[in-house]
């Protein structure tokens, strides 16, 4: 088959054999509808049953027929739903960026220890402050929300930088995972020391924090939480082009004009901000960061970040809302810790990823 014959052959080819590279609008619309439905459900459904009409009235600025309903919706369900939407999107995007950057299908903020770094960052700042106890766990506005965001992001970034530096020397995907595990142990050791010197109620608060929750973000904290994540998501969005080039490896990326070093640090900064902020406010939440990008790849049959990034935002946000809804166990008086639900759903997905791809290096 020479170039000439192929060329002549296609001159008369009636149908273009070239696939469409853009994301389909219908797909995006479907995901927006999914996210909207999940968001609405999380406002409607809860331990206290409130008629949907009442929920709608409160959201539109009206007065519910009961004051408690008003309080439940405005100070509890609404911030929680917004938090879940943002946190799910942020973790998914951070996971997506890290999987491509490290060329490792199992990379995400939780697995590589970046989340641990965030909790350590907050804990250390608190420890260095006037009180040994306070804020990660108790969330008294000791540091101020901006301080919390900064400490968490810096902690996350510190771990990210270490992992990045070591990952450049070791090529093995497995070594990287072990490295992440060790970083987690190390940081949890330091956090344990902190806990040791804390009061019992703070320890119990810490344990609750490790279970993960979207319900702890107050409106006041939302003023730092949401803008910080928006900045992180926008910073991530401008990495789609170089991330696509990095699919071919760093050498190819460089040959196409990518400043690989700059991209690496830009990705580290945005992923650290995303993972750090979510961890500080919601606790270390596993599996969403790994699972959502893979679900998007499988659903939309693409590794193109221009497709994966927006779909990860929407699907990540939706899944976080759904996981939170499941953890409320509607219809019962009980509630499960969020991380129990994400693990129960996420672990099988990760197993499926590993089983489906014989090659570890494929992303």
């Amino acid at each position: 088959m020479s170039a000439q014959t192929t060329r002549a052959g296609w001159e008369y080819a009636p149908v273009s054999p070239f696939p469409v590279l853009r994301i389909r609008r219908s797909v995006l619309l479907l995901l927006v509808v999914l996210a909207g439905t999940a968001f609405a459900s999380s406002l409607m459904i809860g331990a206290v049953s409130i008629p949907p009409g009442e929920v709608l009235r409160v959201l539109l600025g009206g007065q519910a027929s009961k004051d408690t309903w008003q309080t439940i919706i405005l100070t509890f369900r609404l911030p929680k739903a917004i938090t879940a939407l943002f946190a799910g999107a942020a973790l998914s995007v951070a996971g997506l960026q890290m999987q491509t950057l490290f060329r490792n299908p199992l990379a995400d903020p939780f697995v590589l220890g970046v989340s641990s770094g965030a909790s350590l960052g907050v804990a250390l700042v608190v420890l260095g402050g006037t009180s040994v106890s306070a804020s990660v766990f108790g969330r008294t506005a000791f540091l101020g929300e901006v301080g919390l965001v900064g400490a968490a992001s810096l902690g996350a970034a510190a771990v990210f930088a270490v992992v990045l530096a070591i990952a450049r020397r070791v090529q093995s995907a497995v070594t990287l995972l072990v490295l992440g595990l060790m970083v987690s142990y190390l940081t949890s050791a330091v956090v344990s020391v902190l806990i040791y010197f804390s009061l019992p109620e703070q320890v119990s608060a810490y344990i609750n924090w490790t279970f993960g929750s979207f319900g702890g973000v107050t409106w006041q904290q939302m003023r730092a939480f949401a803008p910080a994540l928006l900045v992180g998501l926008l910073a991530a969005w401008i990495t789609v082009k170089p991330l696509n080039a990095l699919l071919l490896g760093e050498n190819y990326a460089r040959s196409m004009g990518v400043n690989v070093r700059a991209v690496r640090w830009w990705v580290a900064a945005s992923a650290s901000l995303l993972a750090g902020v979510v961890t500080a406010f919601c606790g270390p939440i596993g599996f969403i960061g790994i699972a959502v990008p893979h679900l998007c790849r499988a659903l939309f049959v693409s590794s193109d970040h221009r497709i994966l990034m927006p779909t990860s935002v929407l699907l990540g946000g939706s899944l976080a809302l759904i996981f939170d809804l499941i953890s409320q166990m509607p219809g019962t008086q009980y509630a499960l810790p969020l991380n129990v639900v994400t693990s129960a759903v996420g672990a099988p997905i990760v197993l499926w990823i590993v089983a489906r791809r014989q090659s570890f290096g494929r992303i």
Partner: protein, 301 residues
């Protein structure tokens, strides 16, 4: 710094010695040089610098890569083929000397500017999950697309034409992971073509291919160089395929020798045997055989 005139003189000297390239008449000035030579290096010393330690691979090389020709870089492992290619491609700094890429000194070019002049096909394993051959080839448009990499209809046309040229448009919808090595190599060549550079470097493009695919790829590269007037440089261990398909050979010895010329010229001058003189007896015997066979065939034709 040498003048363009000096460079031109050199090129005429190097390329004019053999009849197949002797279209130039000795009065070559700026545009004529630019028209003939895509990459030119003078006093080029390649190697590695690590702190105070310097390891020189080649000293004071002078070479010219002609446009519209397939040039093959041959030499034993460790002779510095990859080092030279990486240096000429701007992927690693030269220890001394200057490289002109498409008329501009390499050190005056940004990464983005180099990407518009020079594309590479590497031996790196391309291990991507859900990427179609078309999407992979489309990555060649990277230096031209806007911030998010969105392709314009013109970009898509260029990619499609590149795939036709590389003989792989029927693979467009297939996933890259499902392709055979030969098919994947064609897609990688299409990606390099889509980058629309006057120069393409290919590092051992036939390395993982079976014999029929090797011949096909070499034939493809030769005809691409001639048809599209691009300067193609490949490194290879396929001596006989290089003798058969390359317009120009760059021979590298383990001892740092470097000679350039057409296959016929190098055979006639006995350079093939000289460059591999340090090799063992069996190698010498094989090379002599190749040498004599090719000389005999050459004189017959």
């Amino acid at each position: 710094m040498i003048t363009e005139w000096q460079a031109a003189e050199h090129v005429v000297h190097e390329l004019g010695r053999n009849s197949r390239h002797a279209e130039t008449d000795g009065h070559v000035f700026g545009n004529a040089l630019h028209a003939a030579v895509a990459v030119y290096a003078k006093d080029l010393t390649t190697g590695y610098r690590q702190g105070a330690r310097v390891r020189v691979v080649h000293r004071r090389l002078e070479l010219a890569l002609p446009r519209g020709k397939l040039t093959a870089l041959l030499g034993p492992n460790g002779a510095g083929k990859s080092t030279l290619m990486r240096t000429l491609a701007g992927l690693q700094p030269a220890l001394a000397g200057t490289v002109w890429v498409d008329g501009t000194p390499l050190r005056a070019l940004s990464l983005q500017a180099i990407a518009r002049k020079l594309a590479v096909v590497l031996t790196d394993r391309v291990d991507v999950g859900y990427v179609t051959a078309y999407a992979l080839a489309a990555l060649g448009r990277y230096p031209y697309t806007r911030w998010d990499g969105q392709l314009t209809p013109e970009d898509e046309q260029i990619v499609q034409e590149a795939m036709r040229l590389a003989g792989c448009s029927e693979l467009a919808g297939r996933m890259v992971v499902e392709l055979s090595d030969g098919e994947r190599q064609r897609v990688m060549i299409a990606r390099a073509l889509a980058q629309q550079t006057p120069i393409i470097f290919l590092d051992e493009p036939t390395a993982f291919l079976d014999l029929p695919r090797r011949v096909e790829v070499m034939h493809l590269l030769r005809s691409l160089a001639h048809q599209t007037k691009r300067a193609l440089l490949i490194s290879t261990h396929d001596l006989e395929l290089a003798l058969r398909f390359a317009d120009l050979l760059w021979l590298m010895g383990s001892d740092g020798t470097f000679v350039a010329g057409t296959p016929t010229e190098l055979l006639q001058r006995g350079e093939l045997l000289r460059v591999f003189a340090a090799e063992g007896e069996e190698v010498q015997r094989y090379l002599k055989e190749v040498h004599h066979r090719w000389l005999a065939e050459g004189s017959g034709a």
